[in-house]
Subunit: 409 residues, 3 copies
Amino acid sequence: CLKQLPKGWRGAAVRALKWKGHFSALFNYKTEKYIVAKNKKVGVLYRLIQLSIIGYLIGWVFIKKKGYQETDESIQSSVITKVKGVSVTNTSESGVLLWGPEDYVVPPQGEACLFIITSFLETPNQRLGFCAESPKVLDGHCQHDSDCKEGRLVVAGNGVTSGQCLKKNTNSTGTCEIYGWCPIEKYFKPKGPQLKNAENFTIYIKNFVQFPKFSFSKSNVLETADGSYLKKCRYNEEINPYCPIFRLGDITKRAGYDFQDMATFGGSIGISIEWDCDLDKGYSHCHPKYHFVRLDINVSNNSISKGFNFRHTRYYKSTEGQSYRSLFKVYGVKFNIMVHGMVRIEVLTHLSASKATTLGTCLIVVRVQDVIVYVSLQGAFFCDMVLLYLIKKGTSYRERKFEGTWCGK
Amino acid sequence: CLKQLPKGWRGAAVRALKWKGHFSALFNYKTEKYIVAKNKKVGVLYRLIQLSIIGYLIGWVFIKKKGYQETDESIQSSVITKVKGVSVTNTSESGVLLWGPEDYVVPPQGEACLFIITSFLETPNQRLGFCAESPKVLDGHCQHDSDCKEGRLVVAGNGVTSGQCLKKNTNSTGTCEIYGWCPIEKYFKPKGPQLKNAENFTIYIKNFVQFPKFSFSKSNVLETADGSYLKKCRYNEEINPYCPIFRLGDITKRAGYDFQDMATFGGSIGISIEWDCDLDKGYSHCHPKYHFVRLDINVSNNSISKGFNFRHTRYYKSTEGQSYRSLFKVYGVKFNIMVHGMVRIEVLTHLSASKATTLGTCLIVVRVQDVIVYVSLQGAFFCDMVLLYLIKKGTSYRERKFEGTWCGK
Amino acid sequence: CLKQLPKGWRGAAVRALKWKGHFSALFNYKTEKYIVAKNKKVGVLYRLIQLSIIGYLIGWVFIKKKGYQETDESIQSSVITKVKGVSVTNTSESGVLLWGPEDYVVPPQGEACLFIITSFLETPNQRLGFCAESPKVLDGHCQHDSDCKEGRLVVAGNGVTSGQCLKKNTNSTGTCEIYGWCPIEKYFKPKGPQLKNAENFTIYIKNFVQFPKFSFSKSNVLETADGSYLKKCRYNEEINPYCPIFRLGDITKRAGYDFQDMATFGGSIGISIEWDCDLDKGYSHCHPKYHFVRLDINVSNNSISKGFNFRHTRYYKSTEGQSYRSLFKVYGVKFNIMVHGMVRIEVLTHLSASKATTLGTCLIVVRVQDVIVYVSLQGAFFCDMVLLYLIKKGTSYRERKFEGTWCGK
């Protein structure tokens, strides 16, 4: 009927119709075409595959991984330590000494990282003056005074050379005279820990944790009516797993090492406190787990890379105002306490409880949807394989699924 | 026409054709077949669903989550602290003492984790010798000298027994005589902080952060022309949120606790500095936020697990060379400064700026694609439901979508 | 034939048939219908796109990202440091002093975070008493005795006012007399590091790492038969990258700063140790990499926020039992050692090795599947575009792909 219109109108009408076509095509709904294979065997197979995938996913996501629970991993933690125990040492340099935690714990302020002295060498009454450099310092060896040019700092040594080479006799190798804290510390190789009963010392670890999202907080110290419980108990994984007081010897034993061995040259132990609480089970079922691991495994027997020691000093002043000091070289075991963990809570029953859980519900919905999509994809893949390649009438199915031989040439 | 060929040739030709078929099938292009449902209602519904999903996703991913921005979370941070304030104490043991930061901050070296002494008990002039064990130590109680076998280390005690049991009268329970640092520290339960004005002390927190990916660095110290600003200002969330100097009393108040209460038995406070900067808004709009939280919430009233104290010593030597010491039991508040954060930058305008952003652009493309896939899947699902189950002519649609009843039997 | 049945039976039979239909429909297998476009150009294009995507993904996921390897990022690390070197200082307050690591390293116990003193001001022989407040303390300025009310604690000052205003003459501004540790520390602006050769000091960093999943552990200390190697070697990225002994001057140089500049007012350096080991290449090929970065970049010239210093004290007692002390204001450089890293292992050859790797194999399967899905989606999208819009016979393809004009009206 467009032919009856005048020429100019006709073009406009055609264009209008074209636009109308485009516009109405905008509201067409395109959807994939399916074919239905009424093959009982394949149909049953398809459903079986779907069921097994659903079962597997429910088992995995919801029961094993507890996908219906929401977690909070933003742990806020505080660790306070307190060491108890005394030890007596008797050395030629220091005489009889009594060691309390205020002496052998470095630093003393009860931090999560602490060092416990097990062996020491005191060099008392050092004063600034002139003496021979230690023969252990390679750079301090000399043949002539010219090897000890005045004012030279001895590399890895103990002072500055005075210009003199001190020798026993003219032919031997001597050591430079230095200005430094004299006498020089003598050579010392520990033969065993001097604080012999250090393995009986105890660490009381107070750990407070908070999980702000669920406003949950707890301490590792067992709440008990028995006031003297904390005075007597000792941690033991089997008998007493909730006691926060640890014997040093037990810690190293759990880490797989002998305390006396570690104490001789020093070492480093990591204590990890792990919180993993299911809040649905109740507040009183939430307990931390402790793991112990040695951190400084000696891969080689190289003595220079072995053990852990450092030096510290105590300064004194004589009545004349002159400074003198005691130098302590100490060996010991370093303990490093690390806290990590999370809490979990069931989402659906706590729907109205907090804002946080609405997100949790969304996550469940998304997870369920993912499962459905995954299931139909996987099921279809296997069934297609069966229909196309295993069943005799495969070709007829193939012709139906992959339609006609259209050539775009 | 194959029939005209000789028998041997025929088979070869058939095989050749078969291979050719397989080979050309390799270059067939298989694509899903769609059907077009020209139903205006459903079409409009489809587009509406798509639009709403797109709108929601743009709103969520791009406006709320700022998906068009790239982030850098690899923060490099340095914290330096400096405490100011003095306090005077007057105790019978120590006399009048003036406390400056060099005394009450432990450790003194301005670290991110510091302890401020608020209460103390000095036991001056302890010397190694013999005296009675503290009656508080259960293991030191005795009835007879045999309870104090010579050389036994008292568990959780202060020394090694000499073999004598010291008693007031023959029937009372006594305590073993020990060799240790005498006199023994007396029992002390703080009645309130001795450094009474500790809540007026200030911490100056210098925090430098760097984000290497965008080579952005900033300090929390406000850059100002006013030289005396840092000498006078105090942090206040409302009035002065950019001042890096914090009054201790304000910190505990923000954490929800009273300083004097915490100071009596000691406690632990976490200060978190959070950087979250949108670099597109400009350098001067990037400021950290401070949060304060108490870390050692006392869940029980068990006194042994309450508060925070430790002991440290100062060693002296007499003119005769004998060691003596002062033992300090100190209570106080521990502050723990934690820094975390990230910076964000708009990706598209910074395309050519750095290598890092090319990855960012890829991410945007992938995100947009995800949105498209998700939109078409979701829209189709709802529309199919409508067409199949809600519309009267559903069966006709169903027949079209799910083609013929092919039986694979 | 249903018509022959009695009325009641007929309904039941119809219902039974309906149910049977529903039930058997449950075992129908619905699958998407495809059409095959036998267009060589498009087919070749399709395969090319697929091949290029597969190539890209194999290159990216498997070769660049090493997707066939499983990683362990749960690093357990221990750091021990030891500083060596001596320095001589000569100041009017302290005389000639020899500094060893036991003096200039704070804290001395060889931790991962250590401070090295490069400049200091000693205020020796401070005793509790009365003296004038420092003129630098604004709150200590006074005109009249009433400005120094007795017992007032001077804000950011050094003591408590005695009630007297000390002035040179009646008109000048004076400072309050205070009770505190006298004499007050004098004003000090370092002109350069006093421990001039501090840049020649060396840090020996012992780092042990463990990766529990693959039970792999290693130290950064090179295992060598040469016993004196560790006594002589110095870290150098090019010549000696495996030596764990670092010269301080080299560290700051690598971080991009001059040591003498940093040492004057103090600063902060981060040393990061990065382990990234491919265990398939062998144990001896696993070495850490070191990175150095300055953490306290001075963004402004504000002197109050510049550098790093703190005060510490040494307490003495006179023969009469009176305490006196030395106050040290020290400047220096803080070093912060951070360890991070991961190890990688090839999955397939280690299939039976551990439980962990079975998960790894699953991940590979999932990854390959993702690639396949992604490839077919992407390829189809491009080919459809070509067939629909670029090829002349597009309309015929369109009619085939988007079936008939079914109207749901």
